[in-house]
C-alpha cells in the first residue's frame, strides 16, 4: 500500500439544478407580518394572496403584503414554466401555495403557455401604487406607509390596462442627449455584430419619433413590442444569407 494514499480529486458538482433567477427584487429575509396565528398565520395569509392573484390575475392589497407575495408568485410561476406539471416537487409547491384546487390547473394550462415565450429580464407580475385616501403618498417610507395600497397583477391579463406610471422620461434634456449619443458612438465603434445588438437595446424613445408614452399602458405596450420584435427579427438575417 502506498503511503500516503493518493488524494482523490473529486469533480466539482455540476451546476444544473439551480434556482431560476427572478426579475423582481426580493428582500434578503422575509417580512414578519404581525399575525395572531404566528408564523403559520403569516404563511396562511400569504397563501391567500398568492391564490387570489393566480385566480383573479389582478388584486388590490396592502403595499408590503403585495410586495412580499410577489416574490412567491414569481418563484412559483418560474418553477412551473421550467418543470411543468409532471414534476412532483413543483406540483407539491403549487398545491401548497394554491389552496384552491380548482386554480391549480389554471397555473399549468393557462399561465405556463403564456409565459413560455417570455422576454428575458421582464418579470411575470407588475405592481403599481394605488391611490389611498388615508395617507399622503409623498410620505412613503419604510415603517410608515403601512396603510398604503398597491395593485398587483399578472402581465398579459385580459383586463383593460391600468393607467400609469405617470413619470415621463426626459429624453430631450441635454445630459440624456449626450449620453444617448455616447451610447450610439460606442456601438458604432464596436464590430458589426454588436451594432446589430444596438438595435435590440433601444434605451430611451426619442420624443420626436412615435412616442408610445402618451396613451395607455406603457410597459404593457413595450412588452408587446418586445415580443413581436423578438419574433420578427429572427427572419431577416436568414434572408440576407440567401
Amino acid at each position: 500500500m502506498v503511503f500516503p494514499p493518493p488524494i482523490k480529486v473529486q469533480q466539482a458538482p455540476k451546476l444544473t439544478n439551480l434556482i431560476s433567477k427572478l426579475n423582481v427584487k426580493v428582500l434578503p429575509s422575509p417580512r414578519k407580518f404581525q399575525n395572531p396565528g404566528g408564523p403559520e398565520g403569516r404563511l396562511k395569509a400569504m397563501r391567500r394572496t398568492v391564490t387570489a392573484l393566480v385566480k383573479h390575475e389582478r388584486i388590490e392589497a396592502r403595499y408590503f403584503r403585495a410586495d412580499e407575495a410577489r416574490g412567491y408568485v414569481e418563484r412559483l410561476i418560474s418553477e412551473a414554466v421550467r418543470y411543468g406539471d409532471l414534476h412532483r416537487p413543483t406540483m407539491d409547491l403549487a398545491k401548497f401555495w394554491i389552496y384552491d384546487e380548482a386554480a391549480i390547473p389554471k397555473l399549468f394550462k393557462v399561465l405556463v403557455p403564456r409565459y413560455k415565450q417570455w422576454p428575458s429580464g421582464l418579470p411575470y407580475t407588475r405592481m403599481l401604487r394605488a391611490p389611498s385616501s388615508i395617507v399622503d403618498q409623498t410620505t412613503f417610507k419604510v415603517g410608515i406607509g403601512h396603510h398604503l395600497l398597491a395593485v398587483l397583477e399578472l402581465r398579459g391579463n385580459p383586463f383593460p390596462p391600468l393607467p400609469g406610471p405617470f413619470t415621463k422620461p426626459h429624453a430631450g434634456a441635454i445630459h440624456n442627449v449626450l449620453l444617448e449619443e455616447a451610447r450610439k458612438e460606442y456601438f458604432r465603434s464596436q464590430s458589426t455584430i454588436e451594432s446589430q445588438a444596438e438595435q435590440h437595446t433601444q434605451a430611451v424613445p426619442i420624443p420626436g419619433e412615435e412616442s408610445c408614452f402618451q396613451q395607455g399602458d406603457t410597459l404593457e405596450q413595450l412588452t408587446h413590442e418586445l415580443v413581436s420584435e423578438s419574433v420578427s427579427e429572427i427572419d431577416p438575417p436568414e434572408e440576407s444569407k440567401k
Binding site: G172, I174, H175, V177, L178, L179, E181, A182, S189, S191
Partner: protein, 394 residues
Amino acid sequence: MGRLAGIIQKCRYSGLIHIQKRYFQMHSVQGPTAEEVEGVRKDLFGKLCRENVRSILQNPIPSVNNPVVRAKRSQMFSEEKENQYKELGRIQKIDVEYVGVPENVNLMMNKGISTPYDCAKHMSDVHVQRSVVAEVNGQLWDMHRPLEETCKLRLFHMKMKAEDPFNVNKVFWRSCSFMLGAVLESALHEHIYVELHSFPPANVRSGSFVYDVDLKIKDWKPNTDEMRVFSLEMRKLAQKNLPFERLEVNVDLALEMFEDNQYKKKQIPEIAAGSTTGKTVCLYRVGDFVDISRGPLMSTTGLLGRCTITALHPLRELSNISDTLYRVQGVALPAGFLLNYFAYGLIEQRGKLLNSARIPGTLQPHKQISAKHNQNQKAVLIEEETKQKQAVSA
C-alpha cells in the same frame, strides 16, 4: 517693439539687470525700514523682478497682444452701445404679454430699452436666474436684447418638462463655444498672440462644443494639467456670472474692431452679406471679450455648471489655413444638472473624439476623418468602399 524697448530701458535705469540684490545692514539696531522691505519685495515679486524680466527678454511681448486688443474691442463696443442708446430719443411704452408660470400677465415696458431679463425681474428671482433664452412672438430672443415692439413673451430654461428643450440646448452649447473662445484668448501668456478663427454651428449630438483657434504654437500637445487649467478657467468665467451683451453694428465698425484678427477680417463681409439687412454684424460681449455670433446666446455665464475641456486636436494635416490651427473641444452641463461621475466620464470620453463639424479650409465630410481615430470603424468604411466598387464594376 516700442513697448519692449521701453521696458528694457526701464530695467537698465532702475539698475535691475546689473544689480539685482539689495542688502540690509548687519547688526543694525533699527532693522530695515518699511521702504527697504518694500523695495526687496518688489525686486523679488514685482512686475520687474528678475524672473519677469528674463521671461520678457526671452519671449518679447508683441505690440499687438491679446490684452491690448481685447481692451480696444471692449471700449469700441461700449462706445457703440452708448451711441445706439443716444439715438433712441424719446422713450415709448410697449405692452408685453407674458405667457407662462406662475400666471399670464401684461407688462408695460420701455421700447428699445427693456429686455426679457427686465421682464423676468418682475416675475421672481427664479425666473431671473434660470431663464436661458426668451421667445418673443415665436422667435428665439436673447435675454439681454431690447424688445422692439408689442409682443408675446415666454421664458425658456434648461429643465423644461412640457416642451422639448432642443433649442435651449443649442443655445447653451453655442454659448459654451463662445466662452471657450474667451478662455483661449486670455489663458495663454501675453507673448503668444492667439487669433481665434471661428466656431461651427452648435450641435449637441456631435458630443462636444468646439472652437477653432490659431494658437501660434507648433505641435503643441498639452498634458492633462494644462487641459485642466482651461477647464478651470471656464469655471472661473462661470463664477463671475457675467451677462452676454448683444449689439448689432455696421460692417465698417466691425472691420475696424477685428482688424487685428486676420481670420475674422475675412469672415466679416460674408457674414454681413448673409444678415437680414445685408450690412450689419451681430456682436456679443462677455466681460471684455467681444466676438461675432449669430446668436442667440444664453443669459449669463453663471448658467454653466460642470465643464471639461477634453481635447485639443491639431488641424495641420486637415486644413490648409495655418500650420498652427487647433480644434479645441469640450463638454459641459448646465448649472443644477447633477450627473454621476461615471456617466459624466462617458460623455467626456466621447468629447475627446475629433468633432464631426466642418473643418475650416476643407469641404470634406467628416465621417472619414473621425474614422481615422478608430480602427474598427476604419475597417467598416473600407468594406463599404470595396462593396461600392464591386457594385460599380458589376
